[in-house]
């Protein structure tokens, strides 16, 4: 199905693994305009297929790998791809935006996305090369670690094509094969980490997918795109966050600030400070362990660390992994964190969920709820625990189901740090209450990025009072919506760091920055006006936010800041609408009681998350019912009334069932 828009290849590949039949998935220009690509496109496809009783491990569940129109256009940090599916961990839809180079090469192979259904009888790897799809036996790859699998595939491709070809790969490790509920999919060293996408791929008996080809990726306005990209790269390279902090310190550079501001979750979120943080912070990682910075294709930021483990250069830990595997379990051995991070990547599982589930198990042991041999501060058996998870042996078989499952069996739900079954990252929401709301309302469960990343405004880059709920619901909605479209367009969310004007970030104590931070909690009416009438923002924000202009130049669509924003709102509501099908509503937008009921600072009631109060404002801002269900009016306003499930929603609202 060809397209009139630039940036797209105009074809979506559909694979039925049960029959090994391939076809073109129908995807129209109208759908491209409404859902852009990436996670939003995937949500629409999942919404069209998933029933309320569909199981994650079933032939009916789809694994969707999708790109955005910016992927491969030369725009900064756009080699990315998204993986969406019904999650075996959360039982709702999950999406994971990944770096590496797979997205770029998928488009070079001729496709914007791959929709995979059914189940292969035997383990396979799929090669997609210039519109052609070949299934190969993966019996000799099954059981291999993620790096080894990619090396073996490189040899196989060389053999098959008679020469080395440039390609992208996604693979799973033993964790995916053994259906660990938070197994990930890997591309190079990067991971589509969250929600168990790797387990779905493993259940479907797909070990890997390779993509290659020489299709041309054309922008609608190539000259304008080139000119914009040149300025955009320069801006990102000169910005204090994307040009200095991330390249020099990586995401781990946030750790010292988190420590000083009580944001560093410590001992499974009991405290916000870790006494030994100096031994494990981003500065120490940079000074003692980092060999070289690495970045994805077309990325000027280069946030990835390379460290040495067993004499080999490997990917270093990201902030969330670093925090959870150090302060989170009271471990001050940074070398051990680097080693565990590498092991988890090789086994193929989500470092955040693995680390947080481990911390839960340690606390459950300490409280004598579960005799599992795991203890805070004891590091000798951590590697073995991770291996046991990947191979589902001993206690690993239970830890492989995540903290929510374990807490249901052993108790301690108040300290199983997850929301909707997905474990939280290392940021302590009791000292960033807006982030707490984001964690609770994120469509894929407890995620800082999908949740809007308010902590950036609440102490990491700006200082909007982190303890006040005032204005946080509206700001959360705004950030969530903007990040939805950035992701759907195929870009890394780290480019949105530069949304904060450079002078404000460089000089946070200046009077005008203080004034903006003081005003932001009262900006609700402005944000709400933008929600109600995005058409009034019929312009592009100069310099700080190039994404809307880039989307316009790449696709030729009439994109403005307002329509970009509306796309995000549509995307977020669409995912919520689908999740409603699985019973998700207000009762599920929660945090563990430790974070909502127990002040982090004893006697200071402001250091807990006033979640219920913020949820009321949040649902109003989103146009959802008090129960957190998108109303028919909102669905219609967002052009989602064409969905089959729209009529069911209308009926349910009419009958008062929602």
């Amino acid at each position: 199905m060809a397209t009139k828009y630039g940036g797209y290849m105009g074809k979506v590949l559909k694979i039925d693994l049960s029959t090994q039949e391939v076809a073109e998935y129908p995807w129209s220009d109208e759908e491209r305009r409404l859902y852009i690509g990436g996670k939003t496109m995937a949500a629409k496809i999942l919404g069209d297929h998933l029933k309320s009783d569909t199981q994650a491990f079933s032939e009916e569940n789809l694994l969707i790998v999708s790109t955005g129109p910016l992927t491969g256009t030369g725009a900064p940090s756009t080699s990315r791809f998204n993986v969406s599916t019904l999650s075996p961990q959360t039982k709702i839809i999950t999406s994971s935006n990944c770096g590496g180079n797979f997205g770029y090469y998928l488009k070079k192979a001729g496709f914007d996305a791959v929709v995979i259904g059914g189940k292969s009888k035997e383990p396979v790897w799929i090669d997609i090369h210039n519109d052609k799809i070949n299934f190969h036996s993966a019996s000799d790859l099954w059981g291999m670690y993620t790096t080894k699998t990619q090396e073996a595939l490189e040899e196989k491709l060389k053999e098959n094509y008679g020469r080395a070809i440039k390609n992208g790969k996604i693979v799973i490790g033993p964790a995916g094969e053994n259906l660990v509920s938070y197994a990930s999919i890997f591309s190079n060293e990067r991971a589509a980490g969250r929600g168990g996408t790797g387990a779905v791929m493993g259940w479907k008996n797909v070990k890997a997918i390779t993509v290659s080809g020489n299709h041309e990726i054309k922008s609608a306005h190539p000259d304008k795109m080139k000119e914009l990209n040149k300025k955009w790269f320069k801006y990102l390279r000169n910005h204090p966050l994307t040009g200095e902090q991330l390249p020099k310190l990586g995401t781990a550079g946030l750790m010292s600030t988190m420590q000083m501001r009580g944001l560093l979750s410590t001992k499974n979120y009991t405290y916000g400070h870790y006494d030994d943080y100096e031994m494990v912070n981003g500065e120490t990682l940079a000074e003692k362990y980092n060999i070289v910075n690495k970045g994805c294709l077309t990325c000027p930021i280069k946030c990835a660390r390379t460290v040495e483990v067993n004499g080999k250069p490997v990917k270093g830990p990201e902030l969330e992994t670093l925090g959870l595997l150090s302060a989170g379990i009271l471990n001050c051995d940074l070398e051990a964190v680097c080693k565990w991070n590498f092991e988890l990547d090789e086994l193929g599982m989500d470092t955040i969920s693995a680390a947080s589930t481990l911390a839960y198990a340690m606390e459950a042991n300490e409280k004598e709820l579960w005799d599992n041999g795991l203890n805070f501060g004891k590091t000798e058996n951590v590697s073995q625990a991770f291996r046991d998870i990947a191979y589902r042996k001993g206690i690993g078989d239970e830890l492989a189901n995540g903290s929510r499952w374990c807490a249901e069996k052993y108790g301690g739900k108040e300290f199983a740090i997850n929301s909707k079954g997905l474990e939280l990252a290392a940021y302590e929401p009791r000292r960033s209450v807006g982030l707490g709301l984001g964690y609770a309302t994120s469509n894929r469960g407890g995620c800082h990025l999908n949740g809007g990343y308010m902590v950036l405004f609440e102490g990491l880059s700006l200082m909007v009072n982190p303890q006040t709920p005032k204005g946080k619901a509206d700001l959360t909605v705004m950030l969530q919506d903007l990040m939805e479209t950035v992701s759907a367009a195929g870009q890394c969310l780290f480019t949105t760091y530069a949304f904060l004007p450079s002078p404000a970030v460089k000089n946070p104590n200046a009077w005008y920055v203080k004034a903006v931070c003081a005003i932001l909690p009262f900006s609700g009416p402005v944000v709400r006006l933008l929600h109600l009438m995005p058409q009034i923002a019929c312009f592009h924000l100069p310099v700080i936010f190039n994404q809307s202009k880039a989307l316009k130049y790449a696709t030729g669509m009439n994109v403005t800041f307002g329509s970009f924003f509306k796309c995000g709102k549509r995307a977020f509501t669409l995912e919520r609408h689908i999740n409603s099908r699985f019973g998700i509503d207000r009762k599920d937008d929660t945090l563990p009681k430790r974070l909502t009921d127990v002040p982090q600072v004893e006697g200071d009631d402001s250091t807990r998350v006033p979640l219920e109060k913020m949820k009321d404002v949040y649902y109003r801002a989103r146009g959802w019912s008090k129960d957190g269900v998108p109303t028919p009016k909102t669905l219609k306003k967002l052009n989602l009334d064409g969905l089959d499930s729209y009529k069911e929603t209308c009926r349910a609202f009419k009958e008062g069932g929602l």
């Binding site: 204090p240 902090q245 400070h273 500065e283 990491l460 700006l462 200082m463 970030v505 920055v513 931070c517």
Partner: protein, 80 residues
């Protein structure tokens, strides 16, 4: 003597992790750091300051034995 610790990208830029010296205030500590590293004092004054773990302003006095932490931007600025 006070102990001064520096965090953030500025630490890597000026190659200074920690330093001990006599200083009567946070402002004076910034001046001494500028002199020791050759980096403009304004860069240090843009930091957030913590004395013994508690956030303070640039005019705050220091006493012998204090630990002063400078959190260089990007970090959101002073909370007060």
């Amino acid at each position: 003597m006070v102990t001064v610790k520096l965090y953030g990208a500025l630490r890597l830029r000026c190659g200074l992790k920690e330093m001990s010296f006599y200083a009567s205030s946070v402002k004076e500590a910034c001046q001494l750091l500028a002199r020791a590293t050759g980096v403009d004092m304004k860069e240090f004054k843009k930091s957030s300051f913590f004395v013994n773990g508690k956030e303070v302003k640039v005019g705050t006095s220091l006493s012998a034995g204090d630990e002063l932490v400078l959190l260089a931007p990007p970090q959101g600025g002073l909370a007060k």
